[in-house]
Symmetry: C2
Subunit: 238 residues, 2 copies
């Protein structure tokens, strides 16, 4: 078994499966995302993916080296969907905000997949395009290369970190998800003021706040601090 996987470009014979489906990397990726969206991350197994495709599970290994290879393809697909149709407006702050929220949104749309994919560096086309776009926004804003790179790093990892964190919450089974929310209402709501005065004093706000994502606010904080560091008179000369 030298190499089971044939590069997509040089595929010629496309034999349909017993159930009449013609396989391809794209079809497998799409089906995997759909599967994960419908039945959760734990439904993403080679066997079930095979069933969903109408093919023998082992057929997938003709297109992906292993499940990790498939996972990287899912990750890059998500990045691609986040970027789809985006154009810079020239307002660096609005552009960064939009990119950040798009990444977050794209991952929330497939929480189960995001959970698996957010931590990976794919180095594939969609990813490099995104990196180029963000660096472009920062450098056009007037940041010198070293600062632009530092801000890029903080910005991207903040977005991905929150995306993964929030995806994880959404990815929990419905019951566990409700239980998690309950913790803030019940558990934290009942802590006595003498042992936990600050929690007791803010319990209602806490319960309300922890229901949403902390990302939009954290993103604003980051953008604010970055703006304060822009070289030139009071943030942008032109």
């Amino acid at each position: 078994m030298a190499e089971r996987v044939v590069p997509e470009r040089q595929r010629r014979r496309r034999r349909p499966t017993r159930q009449g489906v013609v396989l391809s990397r794209q079809l497998i990726v799409d089906t995997a995302l759909r599967l994960v969206a419908q039945h959760g991350a734990e439904a993403l197994t080679v066997r079930r993916l095979g069933a969903a495709l109408g093919a023998d599970p082992s057929a997938i290994y003709r297109y992906f080296r292993n499940t990790d290879d498939l996972l990287l393809a899912l990750a890059d697909e998500l990045i691609g969907r986040a970027q789809h149709g985006w154009r810079p407006t020239g307002d660096w702050r609005a552009d960064l905000r939009e990119i950040g929220l798009r990444i977050h949104r794209a991952y929330q749309a497939h929480p189960q997949a995001a959970l698996l994919a957010a931590h990976r560096t794919t180095g594939r086309t969609h990813e490099t395009r995104a990196v180029e776009a963000i660096l472009g926004v920062l450098r056009r804003a007037g940041f010198p290369a070293p600062e632009a790179v530092r801000v890029y790093h903080a910005f991207v990892d903040q977005s991905l970190g929150f995306a993964a964190l929030d995806a994880a919450a959404l990815a929990l089974p419905a019951a566990a998800q409700a239980a998690d929310r309950e913790v803030w209402q019940a558990d934290y709501g009942r802590l006595p003021a003498d042992t936990h005065p600050h929690i007791a004093a803010t319990a209602p706000q806490l319960a309300a706040e922890m229901r949403r994502s902390g990302y939009p606010y954290a993103l604003e904080l980051l953008l604010e601090a970055v703006a304060a560091r822009l070289p030139g008179p009071a943030g942008r000369a032109d």
Copy 2:
């Protein structure tokens, strides 16, 4: 099978295993962390944990309902270790910085476990103590309850998000980890200036920057923005 797990408090008979080990929740948690540190997250299986303990795998189910229950215990243990020995100094900014870096450090020390645990809300003792401490720092700094809660949320989730992200990188098998670093040097280093001008212009800095964690810088940005929002004359009156 009403309930297999007996609460730790009311355990009396501690029968040693065939290999002479006396089990307990704490011993199991410690062993699990050691296992994960030595052999990676994928080594954390009930069967191998049993072997590492010198016990039959099924004995673990006398102490934890299932692997998820065990995972939450690991998560709370990590939070506890991060907090261990911390005392507020009265300087809110230094205190938050210290807490943030401690969380990050504690999780990096057990990347494999962090990866599994960072997204969970345990609601257990160590966690509530940490929440109380952070809210205390913010309220003593002068933030009114609603703002304190918002900042708390952004601060904690940013810390956990980065912790998980950076842990994921450390958690990769050594080979994949080296490959990931290589992507920035080789892959991104070779992109032509006409298709990816901004990457090409910053490639060396990019390769150097992406080698470290983006967290410390992102944390400074957050603290800076938060300081600017402190009520009172130019951030803190006293």
